[in-house]
């Protein structure tokens, strides 16, 4: 004899013999996801970070069913069931389980947290009456050679605190051995225009005064321009996405000690900036005893 047994609780007003599963609040006929544990956690991004992960140990010895929620950069909590596909998206979240842990991850597909990197779009050299197809800096052709670099679309909010800004000057060609002596100023303008001759444009109070120990050709000479970039983004008229420029003045380099960066060949000079403060993203995982693998 077949006997039906168990317990069943249905919604108020529904028949205990309902065949619509949605009317049943609980029934021993249907198993449920069985709660094992839940845990909250957080990760901290510092400017320049591209990814962070956090692990929740479960040590069940098998892969359990789970749910994960995480706070996005927009401050909203999202259920991690539909993170954006990385291609074409910048920031995304993900979560996976293995036999010992749940890993919650946050990653940038294209850029990084509070970070901007730009490749030079304009070059200027005073050599030959002013050229805009290369930067020549140092002691060359019997005299001091000065120049400038411009970067367009610099994505830094007005007034942001700059934690680090590096001007990576491309050393495509160089002269004799020895240190290059040069000062780097910023072009003190809200949105410095494309180069013709930028030598007369106002310059920042802050400057970098360094003796350049030159790397091999094909590499970069890196210079901390944090104070310079800070002065420019502090301008009331600075807007994220504006162009930023730097004037590089030879400071009595030894004879034939120079560097050159040509437009559109080989490596190109770069500007990398980290700004703002750290941010902490929180997440919560709910782990079930149900085994999926």
């Amino acid at each position: 004899m077949n006997k039906d047994y168990g317990f069943k609780i249905v919604k108020q007003g529904s028949s205990i013999n309902t065949t619509d599963i949605r009317d049943i609040l609980s029934s021993s006929k249907y198993s449920m996801l069985k709660y094992y544990k839940d845990q909250t956690g957080s990760v901290t991004f510092t400017p320049g970070d591209t990814a962070q992960t956090a692990d929740i140990q479960h040590n069940l010895g098998y892969v359990p069913a789970f749910i994960a929620y995480a706070k996005d950069m927009d401050g909203k909590m999202h259920y991690i069931s539909a993170p954006p596909y990385p291609a074409g998206y910048d920031f995304y979240m993900y979560a996976y389980a293995d036999t010992i842990k749940i890993r919650v991850g946050f990653a940038y597909g294209l850029t990084a947290y509070n970070y901007d990197a730009e490749t030079a779009t304009d070059w200027y050299s005073e050599y030959g009456g002013g050229a805009t197809t290369f930067l020549l800096l140092g002691n060359r052709y019997g005299g001091q050679q000065h120049g400038a670099l411009r970067f367009s679309d610099v994505d830094i909010p007005q007034g942001a605190t700059i934690t680090e800004a590096i001007l990576n000057v491309a050393v495509e060609f160089k002269g004799s051995a020895g240190n290059l002596e040069a000062k780097i100023y910023g072009l003190d303008e809200d949105n410095t225009a494309a180069f013709g001759d930028p030598s007369g444009r106002p310059r920042t109070t802050a400057f970098d005064d360094a003796s350049w120990s030159l790397p091999p050709t094909g590499e970069f000479s890196n210079h901390n321009v944090t104070a310079i970039v800070q002065e420019i983004v502090n301008r009331a008229g600075w807007v994220s996405g504006n162009a930023m420029g730097f004037y590089l003045l030879d400071d009595s380099s030894p004879t034939d000690v120079y560097i050159e960066d040509d437009y559109n060949t080989g490596i190109q000079s770069q500007l990398t900036v980290k700004y703002g403060s750290n941010t902490t993203l929180t997440f919560r995982t709910i782990i079930f005893k149900n085994k999926i693998a």
Partner: protein, 131 residues
Amino acid sequence: MGDYGLKIAKGININSPEPRDFIFNSKYGSVKIAKEAGFYKEVTINGPASTTKTVTIPHNLGFPPMFMVFLEATPVTGQWYCGWSIPGNVNLLPGGGGTSSDNTNIYLVFRNNTATAKTIKYYYYIFGDSG
């Protein structure tokens, strides 16, 4: 009509008004598993990249149900993701021609992101609640 049902609380007043205090409370409907894989399944999706394959799983519940799918998106990694588009060799396509449910079936649309055929493992739960 009297109050009826089943309540279980551990170390908490059984009359607590806070739903989170209960291990079980029949006043609050449970998410019922109407159907599950039972053991992980496998599907092979051929290359080239962007090739899709649809797995149809009947449920016959008479309404589009909630469901949850886990997959080992890159074979043999032991990393099981719950979700749609995720980093990996294979991902689930979201709705709009992708993964969905109707009154009769759930449709899992797998997409291969690599040039060669991939066989991946997946596990599903179909819940007795409307999606």
